[in-house]
Symmetry: C2
Subunit: 113 residues, 2 copies
DNA sequence: GCGTAGTGCTACGTTATTTGTAGCACAGGA
DNA sequence: TCCTGTGCTACAAATAACGTAGCACTACGC
């Protein structure tokens, strides 16, 4: 892969250079805990520690990294005294995600027998 | 659940122990290249190398790992002479994913303008 | 004032995963 | 035979995630 000059993060969202927004989204969401974090925020704000607990006690390092990315993307914001919560855009994202949730249910039923 | 002996992969799908299928799906799809691979297969089968090319020349190691996981989950299968392609279940998955695609389009427009 | 507990966030050494390059065995075509 | 393509693997290096500990800050009770 011909990596750009900056090695730590070439942009807020990897893959955005392709110009295909789905790639940017795929790349942002295709990192460990990203989808999970957004999912756990779906029905109400959570403090950083409550969020960590909800996410199987993921390490604070990744937690903060993912939260930064999600905030940078405009999906999550931090209200002082209220913890993290989804922005309207983030809420829209999770609504778009709902069909996948329903698919997961069907999928598990099919696996179960 | 205590982790099984095999250390390379504790189970086909990390997070399935929670009993919540969405977690299993979130975990399977929340690995690098997984969503991308499924996405690139959306309109037709691809050979392993064509798939690798389509995925920004991802390393064959992860490619094979992800393909194994996707095949194990029943989303992808390999037809000899025809390359990899989505199973009906995999196609169903990608259809459930379409709203996210549309969201990505709206999202990019919002970022651009 | 002091101590305690909560918040968001970071440092750092260890571990796991991903990468890049090279290569394997096999199958078909010339 | 040689060449090309397939699916797939080995292995060292680079990267990302983990786990533990801790920071600065704020709000509370004393």
């Amino acid at each position: 892969m011909p990596k750009p000059a900056t090695k730590t993060r070439q942009s807020a969202v990897r893959g955005s250079r392709t110009g295909r927004p789905i790639m940017a989204l795929l790349d942002l969401l295709g990192r460990r805990w990203t989808l999970r974090i957004a999912w756990e925020l779906r029905d109400g704000p959570l403090t950083s520690r409550a969020l960590r607990t909800a996410c199987d006690d993921a390490s604070p390092t990744v937690m903060q990294a993912r939260l930064s990315e999600l905030r940078e993307a405009g999906f999550v914001e931090l209200l002082s005294g209220d913890g993290y919560h989804l922005t309207p855009l983030g809420r829209e994202l999770m609504e778009s995600f709902l069909p996948l949730h329903h698919f997961a249910e069907r999928w598990s039923r099919r696996l179960a027998g």
